[in-house]
């Protein structure tokens, strides 16, 4: 088994885990907190990636991250606008935006299906020059993720953050306490999608390329990370839960890395993640069922004996 966990595998799993954890945090806001399944995540991730790649290409790797976040905010705003002002079901709003984003993403990349960033400066190449060593990539993504995690948990304790949480938790209460639920959903989705966009931009610079199909299945992968994280950490303070989501994302990458080491072909990874998500979500329910079945059969046995 020791051959499975070589240093380079641990390292790349952590790097990718941190980058993708931002999408998981986005779903933490939209899915866990707001109770909305935001299906525009796939398209938004690619949007962040495309915008990030194009701005990086023009020589501004740091600005690229903020531009991608801005693009994510726009995408989130449209999704929220459709559901709060146009009366479209939240799931449908996400699907509509996701479909529309495909064209937008192609357009952003100059009507090409992929963009290469070889030879231009990225935040990683800048870090390599200033930090050096072998861990510079981890350091960069860790700083970004820690910053986001701290800011996010701070934000969720502010009046706005608390109002967003209450909106997803008890809509009845929100209406009776001078909170505008439509506004809260809008802010929540904007924040969530800005993180998705940031994640896309980081990935573009990390792998020095952007592809139009990059985001496919991102919702499922992020959901897997989110659920792994939540089942590991459970309830607790906001910071604890946010950290749990990041941990879940890293763990998911380990699972994928192990699967790859065990010679699972790369094409099967989406199936693997789908199975992980299904199992992770079904597990608590099945556990309860199993406990009940055990209790029932024990009771029947006792009766037969007695």
């Amino acid at each position: 088994m020791s051959s499975i966990f070589t240093l380079s595998i641990v390292q790349s799993a952590l790097e990718l885990g941190f980058i993708y954890s931002l999408v998981a945090l986005a779903l933490f806001i939209s899915f866990t907190i707001l109770n909305i399944a935001d299906l525009s995540t796939d398209g938004c991730f690619t949007l962040g990636c495309a915008v990030g790649a194009m701005v990086t290409l023009s020589g501004h790797p740091v600005l690229a991250l903020f531009a991608a976040m801005g693009a994510g905010v726009c995408s989130g705003f449209i999704t929220a606008f459709l559901q709060t002002k146009m009366g479209i079901e939240s799931i449908l709003a996400g699907i509509i935006v996701n479909t529309g984003l495909y064209t937008i993403n192609i357009a952003v990349m100059g009507f090409a299906s992929n963009v290469n960033l070889f030879g231009c400066d990225t935040i990683f190449s800048l870090a390599k020059e200033s930090i050096g060593g072998t861990f510079y990539k981890i350091i960069v993504v860790a700083i970004v993720v820690i910053l986001v995690a701290v800011l996010l948990s701070w934000f969720l304790g502010t009046r706005l953050g608390l109002s967003i949480r209450a909106t997803g938790n008890n809509p009845d209460m929100v209406k009776a306490s001078s909170i505008n639920p439509g506004f809260m959903i809008t802010v929540g989705l904007c924040v969530a999608n800005s993180l998705t966009g940031l994640s896309g931009a980081l990935l573009a610079q990390y792998q020095k390329s952007c592809d139009i199909n990059l985001g496919t299945g991102m919702v499922t992968i992020a959901l897997a990370s989110l659920i792994i994280g939540e089942s590991l950490i459970g309830k607790g303070s906001m910071f604890r839960r946010v950290c749990g989501v990041v941990l879940g994302s890293c763990l998911y990458r380990f699972i994928v890395a192990v699967a790859l080491r065990l010679n699972v072909p790369a094409e099967c990874l989406k199936l693997v993640s789908a199975i992980i998500v299904a199992v992770a979500i079904a597990f608590p329910y099945l556990k309860k069922r199993a406990a009940f079945t055990k209790q029932k059969s024990a009771a029947i046995r006792r009766r037969k004996e007695g």
Partner: protein, 267 residues
């Protein structure tokens, strides 16, 4: 403080389900008034509350709160000044958030100006929350970090009351807020309600199905039937009324017997 002038509301107009919920309803509630409301099932008690809080807009008439015309003010803008407790104790608090977070939300939304989005509670606020929780005498002050979902219905309703009055509202609407609680807890929440209303001189409306309560609590009793207030008594006349008088008055004014099954049982 609160004035309802000729308000009317018809639900599903022009259909077979048409329901005239409020018909030319008038009410003038003075500052510091604490009025109880009784009425048969479907008399429009909760509908009147929803008209005040902005759950829907009335078809006709005006609603004035503290001199301000709020008839077409949006629900979330109105509720800044209105405390509203429901019969269902689960409606007033967010179960997934801790006691402290729930209180913080109630405190910040009422205390800070509307666009101060990033305000947070500080240590002094937490100490204040603790003191207020201790007054409930339910041991909640030691459970501030626990999610509200773990509390019992009575504890949640007491907490909701605390949250609704944390910053004194212009008017407090109590919609049978003790009806779903066990007798002992209901009594406790009721005592608390009386205490808070008296101490802070809050103008309040309280729906009840308990005729004794209707006469004992507050300074005014309203009786509703078929979308209107049919009997309004306060002062000297009220202090001499008995429950039987009240039932008799209802029969007189509504032309029928009070058909609220819960009233008959609790009589």
């Amino acid at each position: 403080m609160l004035e309802l002038r000729h308000i009317s509301k018809t639900f599903n107009p022009g259909t077979v389900n048409e329901k005239k919920a409020l018909i030319d309803l008038n009410l003038d509630l003075k500052d510091g008034d604490f009025a109880t409301i009784v009425g048969s099932n479907g008399a429009g008690k909760s509908t009147m509350f929803n008209a005040i809080t902005g759950g829907f807009y009335v078809d006709e008439g005006e609603i004035l709160l503290d001199g301000e015309d709020i008839t077409y003010k949006k629900e979330h803008l109105r509720s800044h000044d209105i405390g509203h407790l429901f019969q269902d104790p689960l409606r007033g608090t967010a179960p997934g958030m801790t006691i402290e977070e729930n209180m913080a939300l109630a405190y910040l939304r009422a205390k800070t100006v509307r666009h101060d989005y990033f305000s947070r509670i500080n240590k002094a606020d937490k100490i204040k929350f603790r003191e207020q929780l201790a007054l409930l005498d339910m041991g909640l002050e030691d459970r501030m970090k626990q999610p509200v979902g773990l509390l019992s219905g009575g504890q949640r309703q007491a907490l909701t009351l605390l949250m609704a009055t944390m910053v004194t509202p212009k008017i407090l609407l109590l919609d049978e807020h003790t009806a779903a609680l066990d007798p002992a807890t209901a009594q406790k929440v009721l005592e608390l309600t009386k205490q808070i209303i008296a101490e802070r001189h809050i103008t309040a409306l309280m729906v009840t199905h308990n005729m004794h309560q209707a006469l004992e609590l507050g300074n005014r009793t309203l009786m509703m039937d078929a979308g209107s207030i049919i009997f309004d008594v306060s002062g000297e006349e009220r202090s001499h009324l008995t429950v039987d008088d009240l039932l008799e008055k209802f029969k007189e004014n509504a032309g029928k017997r009070l058909d609220n099954d819960r009233i008959l049982i609790s009589k």
